[in-house]
Symmetry: C2
């Protein structure tokens, strides 16, 4: 993807100061998603990062990861698997608990959504602290999936989420 | 879309009896989403239903509507706009309250996500009682959008959701 396109995509990300709480700047990707050209470029750029990886399944993390992950799956011809918060999936699940700033949360995927040896790509909108992404990676690996990498639209570098992902492959389109 | 394809898609929908409560049969589309060929066929079939409509924006309803709506937007070259439950969107919202079996819920979209006269398509996974779909339609109309129609993967006919949509255009791929 050309540097010019990255700059153009970044221009469609809205900066919201003091959201969700004072001192935090939230990066809102809804203007980018809502722009027809920006949306297509974003999905294509993410898909291109993993184009040689023969991906079988794309995992999207609830909820904004669905918006990015599902069209990436469509584009590369893979199946789509939702990773959801606890209690949302109707069938037998694998579950992974992860730490939040205060307390913890749980992420689940259907146990029969992946088969051992399948090549899996995890997609989310933002890599922040990395807790959710790490939980998704552990779910994939725990079910015997081969994790080819993780892709994000935005990475908030100060939160060091990449450290939690260890030596797993992780790509982001734009870093703040 | 050929009738053979519809039957093939229907075969990937899992029937879960007594979920989420006794007496209810839940139609689980995750096997369909997870199947690469089934997923592509589903998205293409939905997009084809509105192919002549020159859609500017596709609204997907949280959360499973994101999984279907976002790739439809990508496929037809439209922007994607999330309709979310109350309190999830970070910018100024339009809000619509709707009735549930017990109590009520609220759906929101960003006020600047649509402009008057834009042609809008609403996508969700299931048309059941129609409450959420009707709320999404009112949000679009309230912001001056021209609603070209609503598209669903599944329609549960016994719940008569279509009645709530009045004379709006609504299409579903599979009816139970």
């Amino acid at each position: 993807m050309a540097g010019d396109d990255i700059g153009w995509i970044a221009g469609l990300i809205r900066e919201i100061r003091d959201y969700p709480r004072p001192g935090v700047t939230f990066r809102d990707i809804t203007p980018l998603l809502g722009d027809a050209e920006g949306f297509v470029k974003t999905i294509n750029a993410l898909a291109d990062l993993f184009e040689d990886q023969a991906v079988d399944r794309v995992i999207g993390i609830e909820a904004r990861g669905f918006i990015v992950g599902a069209p990436v799956a469509y584009r590369i011809g893979a199946g789509f698997v939702p990773a959801r918060k606890a209690g949302k999936l109707p069938w037998a699940v694998a579950r992974e608990e992860y730490q939040l700033e205060y307390g913890s949360d749980k992420l689940e995927i259907h146990r029969d959504a992946l088969h051992p040896g399948e090549r899996v790509l995890i997609i989310d909108d933002v890599l922040a602290t990395g807790g959710t992404a790490q939980a998704a990676a552990k779910l994939v690996e725990g079910l015997g999936g081969e994790l080819v990498g993780l892709g994000f639209v935005i990475e908030i570098e100060a939160l060091k989420g990449r450290l939690k992902l260890g030596d797993r492959v992780a790509h982001s389109l734009i870093r703040f």
